[in-house]
């Protein structure tokens, strides 16, 4: 399994074991519903921010949970107890998304431009603008314009709220690389935001 290394902790006798893991070991189908309810917001949000479209995000998130379930079917109790669920799930999500990009580049489909709104440009700085809910949505949409590795890194860091170490683990790259993807991604976002069409600019 491609995801077998990420999201596994070295020790399985952790006294603060995640109760969801215990339920998964006791009854996989019941425990898995608890897992889905706990993690669906994060998995769906990451899927939404990397794919940029609600329907694709729902498909990717559902596929992620199905793949996770199929992996769990082959795991014994000890291996399940050793999982760190969120990094493990997001590793599956990111790998599934990357694979879909690869097959999409072999079979190009129409780009959902309707879901990539033009960036708003009211002259305010990004940092201030981020305070409004509307701008939050814009920033989310702008993420879809970043190259895939930067997009994944920024989404894991700033949507899923992971540490750089966890981002590196999920992406399967060194921490330095993860850090540079995040900072380059943010720099590109700023540039995209700044270079928005001048016709739309209005003085406040």
């Amino acid at each position: 399994m491609e995801d077998s290394r990420a999201g596994t902790r070295p020790r399985s006798d952790d006294p603060h074991a995640d109760p969801t893991l215990t339920r998964l070991v006791e009854d996989l189908d019941e425990g898995f519903a608890v897992l889905v309810r706990h993690e669906e917001r994060v998995v769906y949000s990451v899927a939404l921010r990397v794919t940029g479209a609600h329907q694709d995000a729902e498909d990717l998130a559902a596929e992620t949970f199905l793949r996770a379930y199929r992996a769990l079917l082959g795991y014994d109790g000890e291996r399940i107890r050793a999982l760190r669920l969120r990094p493990w799930l997001l590793t599956i999500a990111i790998n599934t998304w990357r694979n879909s990009l690869r097959s999409a580049s072999r079979h190009p489909a129409a780009i959902p431009t309707a879901e990539l709104p033009e960036p708003r440009s009211d002259g305010r700085g990004v940092e201030q603008a981020a305070e409004s809910a509307e701008t939050q949505r814009e920033l989310g949409a702008l993420l879809a314009r970043l190259p895939a590795p930067q997009r994944a890194a920024v989404v894991l860091r700033h949507v899923a709220g992971m540490s750089i170490g966890e981002v590196a683990e999920v992406l399967g790259c060194p921490e330095g690389t993860a850090k540079s993807h995040v900072s380059r991604g943010l720099a590109s976002l700023r540039t995209i935001h700044r270079n928005a069409s001048p016709a739309g600019r209005r003085a406040i």
């Binding site: 917001r41 939050q136 920033l139 700033h158």
Partner: protein, 254 residues
């Protein structure tokens, strides 16, 4: 935010529009069937899997394990079966019944679609199914496809029999096939008697139409007007035409 991350995103997470539990899970339910309880698994796309309790070693636990092994999808219990299931299990065809058959080949789907049209209380031979789907020589492959039927009873593969009239093999064993056919009032004894006399088709000398012996039209023929034939060709030679309802296939049993 730390100084290296000056970009204040705030919360960019949102709830999925509907819970992913509903997308990821299939449902299971136990319903009354012709020979006791039947377990079903279904998604929003339709029924995926059916097994009679009598064929399982371990009740619903055995059913759920078998479904998991075949489909790799978690299951939760539903309150009610999907539309059309109860009608189909009591032998009434239902347009409302939706089947979802992932992982089957086009050939297997065609076999199941043809088999689904066989009415309760009637049987058709394997070569009839092969002829119906335009693959008259693929008789053995039809048998294999029916043995892999994920939704027996809903797609009544027990109504497909050997060309000799014997019930033949079944996914849950020949004894259950015979019980199912007898429960639908298929007169297997009569079919067997006819076969011993090398009669595999029944015609009416008034309508000059030839049928399979279990066809509703054949069963309406009164004793003195019944004529038996070994092959459809033989019947044609006597001026009979094949019934449009049961569409007897040209091939005769060896």
């Amino acid at each position: 935010m730390t100084t290296e991350d000056p970009f204040a995103f705030g919360d960019l997470t949102e709830e999925p529009p509907r819970s992913l539990v509903d997308l990821v899970y299939a449902s299971w339910v136990a319903v009354p069937g012709p020979l006791g309880e039947v377990f079903l698994a279904f998604t929003r796309q339709g029924v995926e899997y059916a097994r009679p309790a009598a064929a399982l070693p371990d009740g619903d636990g055995g059913f759920r394990a078998a479904y998991r092994a075949r489909f790799g999808r978690p299951l939760r219990r539903a309150d009610a079966p999907p539309a059309g299931v109860l009608a189909a299990l009591s032998g009434r065809p239902s347009r409302a019944l939706r089947l979802h058959l992932p992982g089957l080949s086009d050939f297997e789907r065609a076999v199941l679609a043809a088999t689904r049209r066989i009415p309760a209380g009637q049987t058709r031979p394997y070569n009839w199914v092969a002829a119906q789907i335009g693959r008259p020589r693929a008789v053995r492959a039809v048998g294999t496809a029916l043995g892999n039927n994920p939704v027996p009873l809903l797609v009544p593969c027990h109504r497909v029999t050997k060309a000799t009239g014997e019930p033949g093999g079944y996914v849950f064993g020949p004894a259950m096939k015979e019980r199912l056919l007898r429960a639908e009032r298929v007169n297997l004894d009569e079919v067997g008697d006819l076969a011993r006399h090398r009669v595999f088709f029944i015609g009416s000398d008034t309508t000059r139409i030839v049928c399979y012996p279990t066809c509703a039209n054949a069963r309406r023929i009164t004793e003195r007007h019944r004529r038996g034939f070994r092959t459809v060709e033989e019947a044609r030679a006597h001026g009979y035409r094949p019934c449009k309802h049961c569409a007897p296939a040209a091939a005769a049993p060896a």
